[in-house]
Symmetry: C2
């Protein structure tokens, strides 16, 4: 009984570690070679496993792509947005928007080259769009999280009742996306300084 | 004298039309096949001319890429931004921001797949970055144009003196960029309606 239990624990640890190794390899290949070249064959080779083993953990390349975006990008944007609405009323609204903007700039900075590369092959784009829809995932979920926080602040009277949460979320997170985009073409302000300027100017109208 | 003049006019018209045909072909190939596949060979084939003739009109593929972005995208964003600072004081600031947002959403909508596809090949990205710098071009010029308009309105007292023109420009144009990005993944509001919401919410703080 004990040994069977111990065997199961060991097996689960091994399964987990293979999965983590594959996600690490996918992140590395996507970053260094672009998504168009990140084939499951290349990812499996980098992970030191077979393609068959890769497909035991991820039924499609799209799932692996989503795992990288959700689990391997630095910063705490997903966690922050998931909890922020519950923290409405704490700190200042401008300060909370600044935290979101800072995390979003870092998130977009890392994910932009990966996400944008799917536009290189129009057939790839169709596949990802469908895959994202099926999984209720996709880049729009970030705006929804910030809009939910703003609505919670409106309910507390800390944001003007006629402010439009979706539009305000789009202004802030759009500017963060653009910051990441522009950083590939020109000198841009550091993430922290940019986040402060964007949040202050947006909060002035709230 | 007359016949020489007439010959020159005809020659110029022919040169212009070859150039236009090449830009048309480049726009078509970039849109339908992505930038990575838009080789000068393929563009020349589509234009019905030789690669040598293409290189008579454009010294590098990057110049052709810039010509497409500047001359073949619908909407009037470049013209609008070039003239807007001179029109400060006319109409309402919110209305002017709405016009910019509307034009920007249409511009980004068309240019996003083309521009983003350069991220598919990290080596391509380096080349474009250098080419854009040499030509003082690049996606940041759009923000600079809008910031110049906001500064002109500040000078007229129609925008708060403590508003930050660059940050406000980034908020509006970033949201327009994100709108174009999200439209490839999910249902988005029509350009006109989105532009109005974004401009109203941003202008509330100005």
């Amino acid at each position: 009984m004990v040994s069977e239990y111990s065997l199961t624990v060991k097996r689960e640890a091994a399964v987990r570690s293979t999965r983590e190794r594959i996600v690490d390899a996918a992140a590395q290949v996507m970053r260094t070679q672009g998504l168009a070249r990140a084939t499951t064959k290349e990812i499996a080779r980098t992970a030191g496993c077979s393609e068959a083993l890769l497909y035991k953990h991820f039924r499609a390349k799209e799932d692996l792509f989503l795992a990288v975006l959700q689990e391997r990008l630095p910063g705490d944007l997903p966690r922050l947005l998931a909890t922020l609405a519950g923290e409405a009323g704490r700190n200042t609204v401008a300060g909370n928007l600044e935290r979101v903007a800072h995390a979003a700039i870092i998130f977009y900075d890392e994910s932009f080259p990966i996400a944008a590369s799917i536009f290189s092959e129009l057939r790839l784009l169709d596949g990802y769009r469908t895959a994202m829809r099926e999984r209720s995932a996709g880049p729009q979920t970030v705006n929804l999280g910030l809009a939910a926080y703003l609505r919670a602040e409106q309910a507390l009277g800390r944001v003007r009742p006629d402010a439009d949460p979706e539009a305000v979320a789009a202004l802030l997170l759009g500017a963060c996306l653009q910051h990441a985009f522009l950083s590939h073409f020109t000198e841009v302000e550091a993430a922290g300084a940019a986040a402060g300027r964007l949040a202050r100017n947006l909060a002035a109208g709230l």
